[in-house]
């Protein structure tokens, strides 16, 4: 247990070190980097993804995965746009959009928690299916011209220079950190992620925890979809397509193990800030969005590969040391 904790701490230390390096390079690259405007902009450009990443951290720590989040984001935005286009009031549309997220999450959760299908397949089906549902609603149109107050929500600052989405993110970050690190529910998430059997024999209501997690994930994704619609001012069938890559990368880079059971929100928060600054720096260096996606993909693989290899090498070194001491004792 103690070894694990140290490894975790060093992983977070590594992230911090990387972050400092990226920040220094960015400062050298551009004098505008440290401006408050750029710093807020850097958050705002990916704010929807990082909000979903918080929920995804819970899901992955629980040893599950939710590949459908980007499609749920798209669906919620499309539900909003469709109802608004049909002449419903914005309030009804927003409510229905959030509800669609809850339902998608509950649908995923039902198959995963109660029928015990692997989350990988269920949410892969969701990734295709929810996107399909979004396309049915919007087809190949682009729906925009929402009321001004809605667009302003995504585009205008609310308090001082800070837009509402950033406030939502930080509020959710604090809530998630408290829930994950300080509450009973958070402990259950870790226990189930570590060992399903241990959790079950300890009397943890595994089904309910998993169901709750997927509903939270769906709802958060729907909320993020709404914020995205407000920021972009228009919705299309492919809104938020492919976002799952960035979101999962942020969580895994934050030191959450894909096999569940380990990871902390401190790590995830650091990874989020690191990726945002990296993307911002690449933009400042005129690297195209396409190449940035490739870099994120490489980062995703490395974030699992590097800890794996350090663990393998560590184990090998330990074995060698053990053999050496045995030989010495024998001699």
């Amino acid at each position: 247990m103690r070894f694990n904790w140290q490894r975790l701490r060093s992983w977070e230390g590594l992230l911090l070190l990387l972050l400092i390096i990226v920040v220094i390079i960015n400062v050298i690259l551009s004098p505008f980097y440290l401006n408050l405007g750029n710093q807020i902009n850097l958050f705002q450009l990916s704010i929807e993804k990082i909000i979903v990443a918080l929920a995804m951290a819970f899901v992955i720590i629980n040893a599950e995965i939710d590949l459908s989040v980007a499609s749920v984001m798209g669906l919620s935005a499309c539900v909003l746009a469709y109802l608004f286009d049909q002449g419903y009031s914005m309030g009804v549309a927003i409510f229905a959009a959030l509800l669609s997220g809850v339902l998608c999450g509950a649908f995923n959760g039902f198959w995963i928690a109660y029928v015990r299908l692997p989350s990988l397949v269920v949410t892969l089906a969701g990734l295709i299916g929810y996107r399909g549902a979004a396309r049915i609603l919007v087809e190949d149109r682009s729906i925009g011209e929402f009321p001004d107050w809605f667009d302003a929500l995504g585009q205008q600052p609310l308090v001082g220079p800070i837009p509402v989405a950033i406030i939502i993110f930080f509020v959710l970050l604090i809530i998630s950190a408290v829930v994950l690190q300080r509450s009973m529910f958070g402990r259950y998430v870790y226990v189930i992620g570590n060992s399903l059997d241990v959790a079950r024999f300890s009397g943890v209501n595994v089904k309910r925890v998993k169901m709750t997690l997927f509903i939270i994930s769906g709802t958060t994704a729907a909320l993020a979809g709404l914020l995205l619609a407000a920021r972009l001012g228009a919705v299309r069938g492919n809104t938020a397509e492919g976002f799952e890559l960035d979101i999962i990368t942020m969580v895994l880079l934050g030191g959450v193990s894909i096999f569940g059971g380990t990871g902390s929100l401190t790590g995830v928060a650091l990874a989020i800030i690191l990726i945002l600054n990296l993307r911002n720096g690449m933009s400042l260096a005129n690297i195209t969005g396409n190449t940035q996606t490739g870099v994120i993909g490489a980062l995703l693989i490395l974030s699992v590969l590097v800890p794996n290899w350090t663990q393998i090498i560590n184990a090998r070194l330990k074995r060698r040391q053990f053999q050496r001491t045995q030989v010495q004792e024998g001699g």
Binding site: G129, R135, I301, N308
Partner: protein, 353 residues
């Protein structure tokens, strides 16, 4: 009853159900769409099955080992573009060189997936989600926003998709379809008779036990990924032949259709079971559904993805809930019949001991 049970296995029931489902879909759309049983639609379905099928065979190899390859769409896109570019620049290139080039490039991309997954111990879903982005990025940077156009390609390639082996009236059996079916047969034989094929099932059923039993888990996994990449490369070549005009979005999202086809075809996503025949049926089902929906006036073609998602879920749920029970039932009766057989000769010929 017992002999019947011994003759028919649950997995054959599943394949039978798939065949019935395909027939039902065809009959249903036949009653809905005017002039549905036309040669044109038949040819369109077989051509689209051909491309999906070779990639699905590769995916099946990987899924049987309890892995998944999400990068196949990007590999198809990249090889289609790369080979197309080489052929456009060098029209004299022989067909065999072009096919080998496609297979080689695809195999190389599969090798990267395999190395990271097998030796780096990164879960396949993470590896291939990453390489999906990386390969597509390489394609976009490599293409420099240029498009491959049909007129720049050699004539033999453009004519390839409409070349027939035999014709029944206007119903063509096209060469590309025949190739794809040959690939299926080849790999079905490999999976049934070669030690390497059996190893895939063993590792997919229980990787730890397979490793304990001394099977080369990592090497087998690596080869499966290389083959999956190589077959995707072949699929890319066929994609190029069929469409001619290749942009950077070629094959985008293809991986979802492929995974859907394989899972619907009864290849267990937990690994350890599934056949190439199943993958063939799954591919035919999905291609038929897709092409039919395109022509159905009542609902828009935008329903395709939603139905596809639902279909995957139902296939997996049916597999988990119904087929598991059937398999247990079969296993129980098999034990009973086995004990019957063993008990009888023991009574009559005690010296057999």
């Amino acid at each position: 009853m017992k002999t019947l049970k011994r003759l028919i296995h649950p997995d054959q029931i599943r394949e039978l159900v798939l065949v019935l489902l395909i027939l039902l879909i065809v009959l249903f759309f036949g009653s809905q769409i005017e002039n549905y049983y036309s040669p044109r639609l038949f040819n369109r379905i077989t051509t689209s099955v051909a491309i999906l099928l070779v990639v699905a065979v590769g995916q099946t190899l990987v899924v049987i080992m309890r892995n998944i390859d999400l990068s196949v769409g990007a590999i198809v896109g990249f090889t289609a573009y790369f080979v197309g570019q080489q052929l456009a620049a060098n029209n004299d290139m022989s067909p065999i060189t072009a096919v080998l080039l496609a297979i080689g490039v695809g195999g190389l991309m599969g090798l990267v997936n395999g190395l990271i997954t097998a030796y780096g111990r990164v879960p396949a879903i993470i590896t291939t989600l990453g390489t999906l982005a990386i390969y597509r990025t390489i394609l976009v940077d490599f293409s420099d926003a240029q498009t491959i156009i049909t007129s720049s390609l050699p004539a033999w390639l453009v004519e390839l998709p409409s070349k027939n082996l035999v014709e029944f009236g206007n119903f063509d059996i096209r060469w590309m379809f025949v190739w794809a079916v040959l690939v299926v047969i080849l790999f079905q034989l490999v999976m049934t008779y070669l030690p390497w094929g059996r190893r895939l099932y063993a590792i997919g059923s229980n990787p730890d036990a397979a490793a304990q039993a001394g099977l080369p888990v990592e090497r087998t996994m690596l080869i499966a990924f290389i083959l999956c990449g190589a077959l995707s490369g072949l699929g890319g070549f066929m994609f190029l032949a069929r469409f001619g005009n290749i942009t950077v979005v070629a094959g985008l999202g293809l991986e979802l259709q492929i995974v859907a086809a394989v899972v619907v075809g009864g290849v267990n996503i937990f690994g350890g079971s599934g056949t190439m025949l199943g993958a063939l049926l799954g591919t035919i089902l999905i291609a038929t559904l897709e092409q039919s929906l395109l022509r159905w006036a009542i609902i828009s073609e935008f329903w395709r993805d939603a139905l596809l998602g639902l279909l995957i879920l139902l296939a997996v749920a049916a597999d988990a809930v119904i087929l598991d029970r059937l398999r247990n039932f079969w296993a129980r009766t098999e034990v009973e019949t086995l004990s019957d057989i063993e008990a009888e000769p023991l009574k009559e010929t005690p010296h057999a001991l």
